[in-house]
Amino acid sequence: MSTSVNAVERAPGNWTPRALLRRLAGGDEVAHIVTLIFASAIIIITSLLVFQLWVNSGASRHAFGWHFLVTSVWDPVFEHFGALPFIYGTMVTSAISLIIALPLGLAAAIFLAELAPRNISDTISFLIDLLAAVPSVIYGLLGIFVVVPLMRTLIGPALKKVFGYLPIFSGPNYGVGFLTAGIVLAIMIVPYIISVSREVLLTVPRDQREAALALGATRWEATWQVVVPWARTGISGSVFLALARAIGETMAVTMVIGNDPKISASLFAPGYTIAAVIANEFTEATGKIYLSALIELGLVLFLITFILNGMARLLILATERAGGRTA
């Protein structure tokens, strides 16, 4: 890092006004202070966010305690609130989307970075970056008009025919539900995985590839056993970026998930996610407990993303160490 330069110039102890002025005139100090302020603003905003969520969810935390996390009733009339079906829905839809999007995205990225001719690769990458910028409500419409009918008439019945004995593919198939939401989310996050992973794969030094080829590896062996492991950290970064979008996605999910706060084994069943219920019910919520329960859901969502991000960091650290040992 470049702080070493600053450390030399900033001789400690010399705080006379003239020395201070001279250092400020140099520009480094100014840059240091300004960037420090901006950087600390992020921390302040985050802590304010958590503080607000914590304070405003007081009534609900008081009334339900830890039971909030394990109760599966959401009843605004009798003011009984539990987050479990929403936590479940958020986890299940994000997991489905990752299971679909990860192999798809990674394979596409490998093709674009390693195998495709440069001009084709650049054109396709440009289109993929465009896809990543499409607003989520558009994906929701795509879900309603394409994925839902396909699910009801084609994908659903086919899955039932082949895997119908599994509980996750049983029960009535309405077209909307966990699986549909997962598929729409997968379509949304695939561009992120492809775009970031491709960039990372392209940064792998050329001599790594050449060394593997020189040792007699085939082109695929060089890609899969040398280039991809080298880019592992960046690829996991792309996956967690995608996961964050999947967890927090509201509009596209609520349009296709069926919005029913129930925990069902079947992926065809309708469900609900945390982000969707907050967006749906906040504007018309009136009771004190009701409002504060919705805010507590926000706190839960924050915690989930926080924990998942922490786990991601640990995972990356662990794989980096393991990679270092074998290398």
Partner: protein
């Protein structure tokens, strides 16, 4: 240079004072989305008549409107649901509620091969939404629809997923006609639905119903009319199957007017009257009883008066049902209570 600056700032100061004295009265309001089209038409028409009164309305939802009014950021609020005693007790001052227009909610369905208008009894609707009636050829449905061949398919129930006045009216009606619904589910802008899929907004419910065979849902009458959707008839408390229309909705409200003298918040679902459509309700403006700023008070009073007279002539063009005369009379009296 200095002189011109002083002169300029003086001029600015004068201009500001002049604007404040002869200037416009700006009223801020927020709340329900259902009456937003007619409210924005009213506020803009009223501004054309009284160019010094400008009313700025944010359709952020009834709950949001109530919160903003409580926080004192708006001069008055709007809600699809009358404020109950618990909510009123959260205010530090008294709130007067003024019904403005009427809305209705209609059952809509998609059954392949059935193109006739179905008739629903209250028991059929509540049992379908409770998950007790699960097939279209259940005797509770077929008995009121002789001559229609209904399939034995499972009914797919669709409801609103977002909190809404529409859901409040629908569940308020089901609570009145079914004791079981009242004790198990109750009425609110969102409820704990026993069965069914949730669609976001009228368009979400309509879309799910249109796409899903053998489904039933509920939408606002205005939405059904504007989109040429078919909808079913509902049996009212006089035993007659009534199709929702602006006239049958206003009929339902006139039946309830007598009771509104003691409490203006009275619910008009399942109203008496031979032609009354049973699933409808008022939407309300929430006005503080005491308004300390005299110019604002007069402006609000003036608007309410205009809304109850000339304003009512404009509502049917936008497919809202107008207030019955008896209700207008009650509200005229209530305007006098604003101090």
């Amino acid at each position: 240079m200095k002189k011109t600056l002083v002169l300029f700032s003086l001029m600015l100061g004068f201009a500001y004072v002049a604007m404040a004295q002869g200037g416009t009265i700006l009223l801020n309001a927020a709340g329900a989305t259902f009456p937003y089209p007619i409210y924005s038409k009213w506020f803009s028409n009223y501004n054309q008549l009284h160019s010094n009164i400008q009313i700025n309305y944010q359709s952020i939802g009834s709950g949001g409107g109530i919160r903003q009014l409580k926080a004192g950021t708006v001069d008055f609020g709007a809600s699809d649901m009358p404020l109950n005693d618990e909510l009123l007790s959260q205010f530090s001052y008294k709130i007067l509620q003024f019904p403005t227009v009427l809305g209705a909610v209609v059952p809509t369905y998609n059954i392949p091969g059935v193109n006739t208008e179905l008739k629903f009894t209250p028991k059929a609707l509540s049992d379908i939404y409770l998950g007790k009636v699960t097939k279209w050829n259940d005797s509770e449905i077929t008995s009121s629809n002789p001559g229609v061949s209904l399939p034995g398919n499972d009914i797919v129930v669709v409801h609103r997923s977002d909190g809404s006045g529409t859901t409040f009216v629908w569940t308020d009606y089901l609570s009145k006609v079914s004791p079981d619904w009242k004790s198990r589910v109750g009425s609110n802008t969102s409820v704990n639905w026993p069965v069914g899929l949730g669609g976001k907004g009228n368009e979400g419910v309509a879309g799910l119903v249109k796409q899903t065979p053998n489904s039933i849902g509920y939408v606002e009458l205005i939405y059904a009319i504007q989109n040429n959707m078919g909808y079913g008839l509902v049996k009212n408390s006089s035993g007659k199957f009534v199709k929702a229309s602006l006239a049958t909705v206003t009929d339902a409200a006139s039946g309830a007017a007598a009771k509104m003298r003691s409490d203006i918040r009275i619910s008009i679902t399942d109203a008496s009257g031979a032609e009354a459509y049973p699933i409808c309700s008022f939407t309300y403006l929430l006005i503080p009883e005491t308004i300390s700023d005299a110019t604002k008070r007069d402006a609000i009073k003036g608007f309410l008066h205009w809304m109850l007279t000339s304003g009512q002539e404009q509502v049917e063009a936008l497919n809202y049902a107008r207030l019955p005369k008896a209700v207008v009379a009650i509200e005229m009296k209530q305007i006098g209570e604003i101090k």
